[in-house]
Amino acid sequence: MAATKLDGVLIRGIAAAVPNTEQSVENLAGTFGGEVVAKTRDSTGVRSMRIAGPRQCASDLCFTAAKNLLAELEWSPESVGLVVFVSQTPDYILPATSNILQHRLGLTKECLAIDLSQGCSGYVTGLWTAASLCRTVTPTRTLLLVGDTPTKFVREDDLATRVLFGDAGSATALEAVSDAPALHFLGGSDGGGASQLIVSGGGFRNLRSEGCQSPWGQGALEMNGAEIFAFTSREVPQLVKGVIASAGWTSTEADLLVLHQANKFLLDHLSRKIKFPGRVPISLDRFGNTSSASIPLTIADACAKTQPLGRAVLAGFGVGYSWAAAACDLSHARILPVMSTDEAFDPQAGRT
């Protein structure tokens, strides 16, 4: 697996934002039947999720998280040199959403802005990329904005995805600090699993789909749960153990294991296989599987009241297939409580 040890970059803060609108899974009983919804809820562990408004994008949720995090850290917009946006639900095909967010947040024109397309592993992949570039830009202050609105591409008649996914965004602040504890990353890719979790419409491979029912062409979200289960069961335990070993920690030296909130059934299975002795927080019961945002959302949900945090292992895995883990010290990170918002950007007016 690809591995990186990175010195001199500090995680200063993490914030997460969700839409105001809450949907209880029980409300879907009318569509799918009460018994099957209850059984599925018991397995996935998702009781409710937040649903973005019709005009509300992942970038809007990230914007709210970023604005509040900048204020909390007392970082002026001029002090930020890099913004990285990670999502598979961007505002547009083009331009890149990171450019739009640079402008909305009032960051300078000298700021480097980059979009990355990753989902379940996207927070860690983004952290890896942002932290790697952080020391090389001036100023070094970096915003990593990670979020998704997967509820917008689930099919209305697909029970498995409708009772699972929710929307969320996040912001993470990084800064070059010479004596920061090292960050360790480990990850890999297997595009052989591409078709197992896919939205095949809306890109350029299937430009003119017959009988389009949605903006996503014939392909709304398609998910092969059994294949994804087999892949994660195979890769994630060794990924987590590997990154802990890379950091030179014993498993008892890590305080926190934050797993991508795929579903409760899978998290229970992985927890039994990994046998992590510390805390393994869960947020999917109230927020669902929020794709790339699930790790920072879980940190904000579980940890805002228990600052300061210590050593954490973060592991994302899924769509791609792709998987990535980080071993990091969150002792210096300000964690904000989860915030909720209905804000949506109006491109015509140029304001929220």
Binding site: G225, A230, S233, F265
Partner: protein, 78 residues
């Protein structure tokens, strides 16, 4: 693996009375077979028997006996 133990675990997974499922039962014809029981089966076989079955292999099994043969062939201890 002990076949009778595995059959009892399958009964539990499908929420049947003990003794309902036999080696001759057709796996994908069992009432309740679906994505949740499929995942439950994969997890149980992995955790209790140390066998990581490929979903495609399981779908190729007709009877529970086929599944047990697959597990024995893939099992480190036979």
């Amino acid at each position: 693996m002990v076949d009778s133990d595995f059959l009892r675990q399958l009964d539990d997974l499908f929420e049947f009375d003990a003794g309902t499922i036999t080696a001759e039962s057709e796996l994908q014809q069992l009432p309740g077979w679906g994505s949740l029981t499929f995942l439950g089966l994969l997890a149980m076989v992995d955790e209790d028997y140390g066998v990581a079955l490929k979903p495609q292999q399981v779908l190729a099994c007709v009877t529970v006996a086929d599944l047990m043969a697959l597990m024995k062939a893939a099992s480190p201890s036979g």
